[in-house]
Symmetry: C2
Subunit: 328 residues, 2 copies
């Protein structure tokens, strides 16, 4: 769990989010197979950054009886949308591990993982129809559409050294930022914030989303398996060229060298020596630093926007999330 600045009763609300997720993913079939699949899904539960942000944004409105509980339900649905998307991402990425646990696709095979992701989505759908307003439902539907679109665009960029930074930013906007935007927006709107504050929260969500994905992509270069619970240094081997790579590719002097090397790697001929050379090239071209500077810019924009909102204790929590993400 993230440190979130000791906001009154927020821990209690996060526990309620957990309880709703357990309820929403509860297996009523008594089928051992389904049970095992659902347990695997629940076991890869993450840090719940999105529900936390939703709850924090939800402290900015006047609130009304029952609104706290609704926020917990919406937080559970949003975290489950994220979980469902990961099940399908892991198919595409051939990912063996996620958060230190075996993925659904690695434990039960890709075919099962296709339906497992759909299954989780059907559960979300049910509870959204039961609990959410049509506006929230429509927003989340558009968000899932953006997420799919971002992933599809990323696939078409795969192993393409002509991918631009702007392509990359569009892709991560869809696949990651859009859900953060919806998260902050729903938190603010459901607690009764005014239209203007809701728009500010959308923007804050966008910056946090970019920051989150830039950090995630950077960690693939600078982290280790143990800390992240998933393999590192794999993105570009799988053909996903993230910002450190793209920045290096655009380097007037060394870009062409990296391009050559990536083509070798793309042909499956990568040795430890070559990987080390790629890493050195990225560092030399300041690919890591450039990514960090972009992260800092998004964090700064989010902080600036937050400062325009009425002062609330919950802002401390959002600042803490920003500090955490910015500090890697």
């Amino acid at each position: 769990m993230l440190y979130y600045g000791n906001i009154e009763e927020i821990e209690n609300d996060i526990e309620r989010v957990d309880a709703y997720m357990a309820e929403y993913l509860h297996d009523t079939s008594r089928n051992p197979m389904l049970n095992a699949v659902l347990e695997t899904i629940i076991a890869t539960k993450g840090k719940k950054v999105r529900p936390l942000l939703l709850l924090l944004a939800g402290r900015f409105g006047p609130q009304w009886p029952g609104s706290r509980d609704r926020l917990c339900k919406m937080g559970a649905c949003i975290e489950m949308i994220h979980m469902a998307s990961l099940i399908h991402d892991d198919i595409v990425d051939d990912a063996p591990m996620r958060r230190g646990r075996e993925t659904v696709q690695s434990r039960f095979g890709k075919d099962m993982a296709v339906y497992a992701g759909d299954y989780v989505m059907s559960r979300i759908l049910y509870y959204l129809f039961r609990e959410a307003t049509p506006e929230t439902g429509m927003l989340l539907a558009k968000t899932v559409e953006s997420m799919c679109y971002g992933e599809m665009c990323q696939l078409t960029c795969n192993f393409n050294t002509e991918t631009t930074k702007s392509d990359y930013l569009n892709n991560i906007y869809g696949k990651t930022a859009s859900l953060f935007i919806a998260t902050c927006r729903i938190g603010a709107a459901e607690s009764g914030c005014g239209v203007q504050s809701v728009e500010v929260f959308s923007e804050i969500g966008k910056h946090i989303g970019y920051l989150f994905q830039l950090r995630d992509d950077l960690l693939n270069f600078v982290s280790n398996v143990k800390r992240e619970g998933k393999p590192v240094f794999t993105d570009f081997l799988n053909g996903t060229y993230t910002l450190p790579i793209l920045h290096t590719l655009s380097h007037p002097q060394h870009g062409s060298r990296l391009k050559e090397m990536l083509q070798t790697v793309g042909l499956g001929g990568s040795s430890t020596f070559e990987l080390e050379e790629i890493r050195k090239l990225i560092i030399q071209c300041q690919g890591i630093e450039f990514t960090r500077s972009m992260m800092k810019a998004h964090a700064a924009d989010a902080r600036e926007l937050l400062a325009t909102l009425p002062r609330k204790q919950a802002a401390r929590g959002i600042y803490a999330v920003l500090d955490y993400l910015e500090g890697e």
Copy 2:
């Protein structure tokens, strides 16, 4: 298109369903890749049995201003749920063709097909939140859950010669009958039928669903590529043991012979000669006839239920659908 008994204005309504599907799947991104994917999806448009049934059931209630249009919208959503499920099924089945056209997975790869199915689902979700009642939304969510559950159970039965007929019937209930149940139910309910008629339509939908899947599974044995637009004689090679196989497996005399043969086939060692022997064995054990008798029983049950409802011109259309499905 099916023959549906010349029901007044039904052709007009089916065209409206088509128009809504085109609207709901319209590509606003102007991205050539997404455009090509969506075109492939729309090109594999089928006979629209489900929207037709929904519209026919929708003629049984008193109706009200705008209800005809709502029925067309719901018909479009249900057909799209079916289309989205096929995109993911084709990944699992490695299907190269569907309705005589290349599948999304074969044209764009499995990774793209994962997201393409999710993308269609997100569009459905949006229009359901915009157009459907929460009750209809919840029913369809539960239906998608059943469909996934049925497919997941079918996967666990794969290449398993111990699969029982009861397992098989449970699997096809989930993967196929559940959507026919929802289809008939929504048609009846949205047109204002009373509770009892809605329940009768649920039952009719169930029998049509079983009939539909039994027929589809039978066609895999007795049809040819040209007629169906998809490969035949492939189900059991892929490890899906449908009723003709299961009935033969349970034959006291010849069951063990088929079991042996399936194990060879499962190891990838199937020759035309062996396939021919399997086909003969199935015919000898009346696997085809048993399946046909079950189809007839479901068609008869549906007709009997239909006869309990108030007489409407639209019943002729449902009888026509039953005749079509029963006649293979």
